[in-house]
């Protein structure tokens, strides 16, 4: 029988997955949210918060504009936090690495889904041009269902292979944590530089970074 915690994780992973573009784009798929809730559902909120904190640094470098291709961190954060708690992983690094890999796969799956949607819409072109509302409703329902399926498959596959992968990576746990945190810091810094642009905003960002360093030193 399916473990209730596992079932909840998959359901939450589906919600986090469709939140990225399909519905409702309400921050549920952000790693800090998705991983925290996943940690809570799996039984350890603290691990979820830590993994959410780490994966969110990577997500801060994503600008999901137009036809841009980007990783999907929502289901990935659920896989990372859920598997870390359920397997009792010691270090953050291996679970975060699993999350990073899952995010790339989920992003690629999104690309496939968009192409599949394109084929379905092309097949319905005549009906759409004639204003056929029934066809429109079917396309919309299947589009949403397709994204739900994509997210469920990603989360299920991620959670299924997680125990073996985490065991394999466990000896390098501490080193991987350092690498993953460094990568996250680089990603967030890159996103920050992009947003700050030039001129006054960059000066404000520099001053704020100084404030952040003081806060970090006091922690």
């Amino acid at each position: 029988m399916l473990d209730p915690a596992l079932l909840l994780l998959v359901l939450w992973g589906v919600l986090a997955g469709i939140d990225l573009v399909s519905f409702p784009q309400g921050l549920l798929g952000r790693p800090i949210v998705a991983a925290s809730v996943a940690g809570f559902l799996a039984g350890d909120l603290e691990v979820g918060l830590q993994l959410g904190l780490l994966l969110e640094l990577y997500a801060l470098d994503v600008l999901p504009i137009g036809s841009a291709r980007y990783p999907d961190y929502g289901p990935a954060a659920v896989v990372a936090a859920g598997s870390a708690v359920l397997t009792g992983a010691d270090a953050l690094g291996p679970a975060a690495l699993l999350g990073l890999i899952t995010a790339q796969v989920a992003g690629q799956a999104m690309e496939w889904m968009r192409r599949f949607n394109g084929r379905r819409v092309r097949a319905a072109e005549a009906a759409l041009a004639a204003g056929d509302v029934g066809v429109l409703h079917r396309l919309q329902r299947w589009g949403l269902a397709g994204d739900m399926l994509r997210s469920a498959v990603v989360v299920l596959a991620g959670l299924a292979i997680a125990p073996a992968l985490l065991r394999l990576m466990a000896p390098a746990g501490t080193a991987l944590t350092l690498v993953l945190v460094a990568g996250g810091a680089a990603a967030a810094a890159h996103g920050l530089l992009q947003r700050a642009g030039v001129g006054a905003n960059r000066r404000w960002a520099a001053a704020s970074l100084g404030t952040g360093l003081v806060i970090a030193w006091l922690l």
């Binding site: 573009v21 399909s22 409702p24 784009q25 921050l27 549920l28 800090i32 949210v33 809570f40 909120l45 918060l49 904190l53 780490l54 640094l57 997500a59 801060l60 470098d61 600008l63 999901p64 504009i65 137009g66 036809s67 690495l97 990073l100 790339q104 968009r114 949607n117 394109g118 759409l128 041009a129 004639a130 204003g131 056929d132 429109l136 396309l139 919309q140 589009g143 000896p171 991987l176 350092l178 993953l180 945190v181 460094a182 990568g183 996250g184 810091a185 680089a186 967030a188 890159h190 920050l192 947003r195 960059r202 960002a205 704020s208 970074l209 404030t211 952040g212 806060i215 970090a216 922690l219």
Partner: protein, 247 residues
């Protein structure tokens, strides 16, 4: 001006404007789906006009999804006023640019990173789940409130909605929000890193900072394909190979 009917359902449907996103029509299908409840009300009893309007309603459209309610309101008004079809299609095309530019700056470069960075800072400072929940509630309150206002603005102004948005507070809000995002992300980054490293010794902290600068430098040097996650995966693979090779 007639009151806007069907806006509740249209607003809910605008939340799934990208569920059938395609490279050919982008958000076109979703926009048509969101338009339907209003067109069904305002063109009630005229099946021919309704079907023709729905046929136009699903053609190409691309803008920021959060600002799409303005397009829903404006296009519905244009159809209700009996604006010629070629002008409705021109309005649809013309709206994409400004709604995309203003919305991307306001949301993707502003509100989203601002709220998320606030949550990161709160978690890093030991606030637990509460900063995360506050971020989600705040963001969605702003987003839904803005959606209601935009749909009304679109309905009230119809073909002149572009000028109405340009004259509103929205363009300036984008500038403020992007500055807020830069400030909050910069404040949150160092505490987040320190929190993640827990009680790590200074040499480890120095290693992390050095590696982060290396990845950042490599990313800028190697171009857009060498993203931070890609470079991190590469370094992680090397670490794992070294670990397995020496154990």
């Amino acid at each position: 001006m007639a009151p806007l009917k069907g806006r509740g359902l249209a607003l809910v449907r605008s939340l799934e404007i990208q569920a059938v996103w395609t490279y050919e029509r982008m958000q076109g299908i979703g926009l048509g789906y969101a338009l339907e409840p209003i067109l069904g009300q305002v063109l009630d009893g005229d099946a021919g006009r309704f079907r023709a309007a729905m046929g136009r309603g699903t053609t190409f459209f691309n803008a920021n999804p959060y600002l799409s309610p303005a397009a829903v309101g404006a296009l519905a008004r244009a159809e209700a006023d009996g604006v010629p079809p070629d002008q409705v299609l021109r309005l649809r095309t013309a709206l994409g640019g400004p709604l995309g530019a203003i919305g991307d700056r306001l949301f993707w470069a502003g509100l989203v990173p601002t709220v998320v960075s606030g949550a990161l800072l709160g978690v890093a400072l030991g606030g637990g789940i509460w900063p995360v929940l506050l971020a989600v509630v705040t963001y969605n309150t702003v987003r839904v409130g803005l959606g209601v206002w935009l749909m009304e603005l679109g309905w009230a102004n119809g073909m002149r909605v572009g000028a109405a948005i340009g004259a509103s507070w929205l363009p300036h809000a984008g500038t403020v929000a992007s500055l807020a995002a830069a400030v909050l992300a910069a404040v949150a980054l160092p505490p987040a890193v320190v929190q993640l490293l827990g009680g790590a010794a200074r040499p480890q902290l120095a290693l992390v900072v050095g590696l982060a600068l290396l990845i950042l430098g490599a990313r800028r040097l190697l171009g857009t394909r060498a993203t931070a996650p890609a470079l991190t995966l590469l370094v992680s693979a090397l670490v794992l190979l070294w670990q397995w090779g020496t154990s």
